[in-house]
């Protein structure tokens, strides 16, 4: 047989080594995953409440048309900015290409009037390859980010919206659903989409100290927090996806080792049989 026993043995050893590596990677991802999932889930209530609050605010009747906060001033959407949050590294199964595909499909109708802020290498590489206008790149953000890591991202997005360089800001990230499921998600960050309020809730807020002051405090915090939360979701998704991908890679490698071992044993048996036949044949020839 062509595949000699020695070749097969070498092959098995190499697959076993691969399995060891993927197994280690899945274990590392599993330990990071636990922390990342916890961080993403525990920051959800704050981020959701903040979003609800802003949606309530945006739905209130406008008292003074000239006195609208620059970050609440909505207009027809022609130029958009996309904050694309992806992992820096691969080996995450289909996760990266899912986010990139969703984001790519979203911005492509806008053509040249779309700009991208890439947070993470995978998104940057994808957008550059497809010739999108990548305005800013942020990479090497830690697995346990702090809110100050996203401050510059938020600054960029708010400035370009307030200066009317773009008419809407979107954020694309992988929303963590559970360990085996991560959803590529695109949310509108600016302008804030108004909630549907019952009439009795549309009475206008009392603002203290005053309208503009509160909004000027609240809106930057909101943008920062939404980006931060998306980043946490993205990290939880990345680690979960990597854990699952590496675990199934390990399983596959082990299955392969089993198959190869079987083939090797067969080959070994065959060669022994052939040798025996040779010996018997030889002995018979001598005895005759």
């Amino acid at each position: 047989m062509a595949a000699s026993v020695r070749q097969l043995r070498r092959r098995i050893r190499s697959v076993e080594n691969t399995a060891k590596i993927t197994n280690a990677m899945s274990m590392i991802a599993a330990s990071k995953m636990r922390r990342a999932q916890e961080a993403a889930l525990s920051s959800r209530p704050y981020s959701d409440r903040l979003h609800d609050l802003l949606a309530d605010l945006a739905a209130q009747p406008k008292e003074d048309e000239d006195n609208v906060h620059p970050l609440l001033d909505s207009r027809e959407i022609e130029r958009v900015e996309m904050i694309l949050i992806t992992p820096d590294r691969g080996l995450t199964g289909g996760l990266n290409s899912n986010i990139n595909r969703a984001a790519g499909q979203f911005v492509s109708p806008y053509g040249d009037s779309a700009r991208v802020i890439a947070v993470g290498r995978k998104g940057r590489d994808f957008m550059i390859r497809y010739g999108q206008n990548v305005r800013a790149v942020f990479t090497d953000i830690s697995d346990r980010p702090s809110i100050t890591d996203v401050t510059p991202v938020a600054r960029l997005a708010m400035d370009s919206y307030a200066n009317r360089e773009v008419d809407a800001v979107y954020i694309a990230y992988a929303r963590f659903v559970n360990t085996t499921l991560q959803q590529a998600t695109i949310d509108q960050l600016l302008p804030v989409q108004p909630a549907e309020l019952r009439p009795q809730e549309q009475v206008g807020y009392i603002y203290e100290p005053d309208h503009m002051q509160v909004l000027s405090d609240l809106l930057p915090r909101y943008v920062e927090m939404q980006i931060f939360h998306a980043l946490l979701e993205g990290i939880a998704s990345e680690q979960s996806a990597r854990m699952v991908a590496m675990r199934s890679a390990t399983d596959n490698a082990n299955a392969m080792v089993e198959d190869l071992t079987l083939v090797m044993n067969k080959a070994r048996q065959e060669s022994i049989t052939t040798e025996l036949l040779d010996i018997i044949g030889g002995a018979a020839a001598v005895g005759a």
Binding site: E201, Q213, D217
Partner: protein, 145 residues
């Protein structure tokens, strides 16, 4: 009197979620008291003490700033940080206040001074709440963290 829902949420966790009858919070424009069925309100919070009355019993919390929203008999506080009295480590709060005080004295620029003052106010609020707890109900020391 009917109660209102009070939720205190920080970026890390939900600190408090109960039906309460009175809330006194440190608004940026002065302390404000909220009773059930308050009109819709949105205000920024200053670092300070919050007082919550539930079933006739008062509890104190330290808040380091954030936002307070009232809508539809529901009060939501989005706090930068918030701690209930028994979560605060008094010794740590005290040393933080001391450090902040030093920084205020040695601040070289307006921005430094601003930051140092803010952190001093936050530490003072935490310490105040922690001390209040000690006066009211002495409890054995808990491990830090």
């Amino acid at each position: 009197m009917a109660d209102m829902r009070l939720e205190i949420v920080t970026a890390e966790r939900v600190v408090y979620s109960e039906d309460v009858s009175v809330l006194v919070a440190p608004g940026d424009a002065g302390e404000l008291g909220i009773l059930p069925n308050h009109a819709p309100l949105l205000t920024t919070l200053a670092p300070g003490e919050m007082r919550v009355t539930k079933d006739g019993e008062e509890t104190y919390m330290a808040v380091s700033g954030g936002f307070l929203e009232v809508i539809g008999n529901k009060v939501t506080i989005l706090a930068d940080t918030a701690e209930q009295a028994d979560e605060i480590d008094e010794a740590r709060a005290e040393s933080a206040l001391e450090r902040a005080r030093e920084r205020v004295e040695s601040a070289s620029s307006d921005m430094d001074l601003e930051r140092a003052l803010a952190s001093m106010r936050r530490s003072a609020a935490r310490l105040g709440v922690a001390r209040r707890r000690r006066r009211r109900s002495p409890r054995p020391d808990r491990p830090a963290g």
